[in-house]
Assembly symmetry: C2
Homo-oligomer: 263 residues x 2
Amino acid sequence: MSPQAPTADLKPGDAYVQSFARGLEVIRSFSARAPRQTLTEVATRTGLTRAGARRILLTLQTLGYVESDGKLFALTPRILDLGFAYLSSMPMWDVAEPVMEQLVEEVKESVSAAVLEGADIVYVLRVSTRKIMRNSLGIGSRLPAYCTSMGRTLLAGLPDEEVLRLLRSAPLEARTRHTLTDPEAVLARVQQARRQGWCLVNQELEEGLLSMAAPVVNRAGRTIAAINISGQVNRTTPRQMQESMLAPLRETARQISSRLTGA
Amino acid sequence: MSPQAPTADLKPGDAYVQSFARGLEVIRSFSARAPRQTLTEVATRTGLTRAGARRILLTLQTLGYVESDGKLFALTPRILDLGFAYLSSMPMWDVAEPVMEQLVEEVKESVSAAVLEGADIVYVLRVSTRKIMRNSLGIGSRLPAYCTSMGRTLLAGLPDEEVLRLLRSAPLEARTRHTLTDPEAVLARVQQARRQGWCLVNQELEEGLLSMAAPVVNRAGRTIAAINISGQVNRTTPRQMQESMLAPLRETARQISSRLTGA
């Protein structure tokens, strides 16, 4: 399904759209750093007036999505019904999880799945190894597409002009000394990923972190997700990773793709 | 944080609250059975008029939470930001996951964590074994509290009158021939769980399924979550489960509780 501009009779500036957007912004203002917030903190973080923030917090409390002791506000687990509606609406995950678990068993490294959201990747599934040094990224967390193996794999499913538009939508940060920060240079790697059907990213996101990804493709031939294996340079080299893990990774992505029914 | 009734100047019937509630209802109408819906389907599932459903879908589309090909609507991964806001706002999970992984390693059965939401438990973390027969419950999924070990453990953290109120809020369904369906009988098990600090539920949720849970308690002494181990009667008996797994389960819950910092 390709995104399409909404019809002209509803604009981002509409009062109705605005108030709904602000409600969702209030939800998103809660985080690990701000698990419980006062009214003033919510107002500051969202740019709302105190009166506006109060109205939205009380609305969320009335609906059971927020609880409060009168001073501090916190989200309730009812919030998960919203994200969970999305996850459960993607039939691929029931299919993907057991196949990904077999891959973890085989390669002894963590395996994840992500989808593209603008210029970011969003994690939708993760199967971790029992190793102590492990990737702590959970479901719903985001990373930029340009410097991650799943990101480049997902970008490879888009036309070049769309890839460049996304790469130019925000400055490409040099997260390590290896990170490619020129959109044209990243595009070349995306094109390589498209040609070969996989990609490996060597410490461009984080020093010491290696990652290799392959696409999950639906019956219409559209890339809908990516699967990756992540490793550590102190345990494996890019060459070793490619030799021992590329074939099982691609086979896993192929199996998930072939089992998708109309996704 | 104990839930408190919202202030009197905002009622569930308010226009603003209503419109926000309807927006969230539209999000929740998408599921594994209805991953892509037409305008008419959304209207039918939510009880909205076509015009009302259209206005909300276009709002969600404008905000990037819904995409459409013009006819079918689907949620986008941006929705996961909402659930992620909740999960990342609970500091316990970073602490809990490695401890739960050690428990899986030790007992070779799946381990989960859940919190109470009304009369339901909501899964917030799951560490599965690599066995083929495994519990397919993911994060955000719900089960009733009355017939689950985590549910009874969480209810044990509430006063008896509150437990009875929740147990009487909906009929207790006989999910198997073993399920207790009398609120007073369930309360007796909840009281037992409170006295002994753990509970075991034998095939009351599902034939063949055993489950044993212990509470996670914060510094204020409040039960904030439960941890469980689930097993299958064809691999273990309740007595074996108790002899071999109860001590490690309670130790895991104790470790998570002791590492909580102000949660």
